[in-house]
């Protein structure tokens, strides 16, 4: 069918709302969006090409730098993949410390995503509140690991540094502060009439379309799909994890899923701190030859590492599937269609929490 197109509207690659360069090409009639296409390739570095044939000690740091926002989960999945090949089991204390750091990373990523959304719909007050709360989370990450971003905390057989009792107490009081502040911000978000106008019923992604396009993460869970890889992870199972699902399938639902997951993360950290027993944090071990597909839940959805190692601990083959790949596609082909105004293009795109650095690597 031939469409009547007024304007082919490009958004990006440099845009005030985007953290990263990418271009959305929208075919519009007036302001109504008929179809959209996302053009990528501005930050392609070829990380998987560099990784091939290198020892795991180097690949570990490269894996972390696939994405700066969710660096802990890349470290987590890569290390657990080579551990599973070699039959190394982390010590019990280290397994819980991994969950604590991973959930802190998820909290700062979700707060950053919701900051971007609030900034995009021009609610700058709430955006700045969220960005300030994120600094509290970053302080806790720095307290435990020693770095704000790219901390390389997880190593085969354990973790790099221990959590002292007084640090655990500081972490607990910070979690209480985050819970109290965030419930206030969520009330602002839920009751704001203009926020509801810009968010409710905008960027609908039906359950059928999400299943067909293999949407993952909060984008899929906001459309009523029960898909969270953490429910298959042994440590998360021990902590009694169950995913958060909403049925509204619009921008509002995607942001609310992220807000609720921050509460879930503080709960998980609290139960991990309660379950933390004294013991060694490093088990040690040798990387052996083998190949594996290993997955876990990144802040944006399912993250898959497929790799082959040899007896010297080198990575022979590696392929990374990051969650933003299906999410950006489903955003362009389902969510952006029928957007009523050009101002909704950026807000719908940001609501799916795209990470271009992850997607292109």
């Amino acid at each position: 069918m031939k469409k009547t197109v007024d304007v082919s509207l490009p958004v990006g690659p440099m845009h005030p709302c985007f953290k990263e360069p990418c271009r959305i090409k929208c075919e519009t009639r007036g302001e109504y969006v008929l179809s959209a296409e996302v053009e990528l390739g501005y930050v392609k570095k070829g990380i998987e090409r560099i990784m091939r044939g290198r020892p795991w000690q180097e690949v570990m740091f490269l894996a972390e730098r696939v994405c700066g926002i969710c660096s802990v989960i890349h470290n987590f999945v890569f290390i657990e993949a080579v551990e599973n090949i070699s039959g190394i089991v982390p010590t019990e204390r280290a397994a819980f410390l991994r969950v604590i750091v991973n959930e802190l990373d998820r909290m700062q990523s979700h707060l950053l995503a919701n900051y971007s959304y609030c900034y995009t719909i021009e609610h700058e007050t709430l955006a700045m509140y969220l960005l300030n709360l994120r600094e509290t989370v970053m302080d806790q990450l720095e307290l435990i690991t020693g770095a704000r971003v790219t901390c390389a905390y997880i190593i085969p057989g354990g973790v790099r540094s221990d959590l002292s009792a007084e640090d655990a107490e500081r972490l607990r009081s910070a979690l209480d502060h985050i819970d109290a502040e965030l419930s206030r911000f969520i009330r602002i978000f839920e009751t704001g009439p203009l926020i509801a106008l810009r968010s409710k019923g905008v960027g609908i992604l039906t359950k059928e379309a999400a299943i067909e396009a293999h949407a993952v993460g909060p984008t899929a869970r906001a459309s009523g799909i029960d898909n969270d890889q953490r429910s298959t992870h042994p440590t998360y199972k021990a902590l009694g994890f169950s995913p958060i699902i909403r049925q509204e399938a619009d921008n509002y639902a995607r942001i609310m899923v992220r807000f609720e997951e921050v509460f879930q993360s503080t709960g998980l950290i609290r139960s991990a701190l309660a379950a933390l027993k004294e013991g060694p944090i490093r088990g040690g071990g040798t990387i052996k030859a083998g190949s594996i597909k290993y997955r876990n839940e990144a802040p944006r959805g399912e993250l898959l590492y497929e790799l082959t190692t040899d007896d010297y601990g080198r990575i022979l083959e590696i392929a990374i599937q990051t969650p933003s790949i299906p999410n950006i596609q489903v955003c362009a082909h389902e969510m952006l269609i029928d957007a009523q105004s050009a101002a909704d293009i950026t807000s719908i795109f940001i609501s799916s929490d795209p990470c271009i650095a992850c997607t292109e690597r």
Binding site: P16, K19, Y42, V43, K45, C67, M128, M138, T150, C355
Partner: protein
């Protein structure tokens, strides 16, 4: 110093407009620039505004190890910025390529091959305070008495 120059110096010292461009970074440095906006660091109390629009920028912050897509795009973008202007490289990537500068890579560091870089902030990623202090210490050197020294 003429009166006009004095006025320009006064205005410029509290009005620094910043644009940032990601030429192949991992996002780590970008979110540290974003963290500068937060009320804890509060970049706007120093008169620095992040607009992300090259045409009204004074300072261009560059993150990333220069991927090939930007080869024909970064120079025109730099030319769009009105004088006086300055470029700051943030993180190890624009300086050396960091971990990405290995055989078989697709990036082509350093960025100083393409546009003039006035200051470099090493770190993977640098802290927000380092970014703010670099902009603040660089701006007076570049912008003070710009018209009179140019003659």
């Amino acid at each position: 110093m003429s009166m006009l120059q004095y006025l320009k110096n006064t205005v410029r010292s509290r009005s620094i407009h910043v644009a940032y461009v990601n030429v192949g970074s991992c996002n780590g440095c970008d979110i540290e620039i974003l963290a500068c906006l937060s009320p804890r660091y509060d970049i706007e109390q120093y008169g620095i505004y992040v607009h992300n629009n090259p045409r009204e920028a004074d300072v261009l912050l560059i993150t990333g190890a220069f991927s090939s897509q930007w080869e024909d795009k970064l120079k025109p973008l730099w030319d769009k910025i009105p004088h006086p202007k300055v470029a700051v490289a943030i993180g190890n990537c624009p300086i050396s390529g960091c971990v990405f500068n290995r055989p078989e890579t697709l990036v082509d560091p350093p960025v100083s091959k393409h546009i003039p870089i006035a200051a470099e902030i090493p770190g993977c990623p640098p802290r927000p305070t380092e970014i703010i202090s670099t902009i603040l210490s660089l701006a007076p050197i570049i912008f003070k008495d710009y018209e009179e020294t140019k003659k």
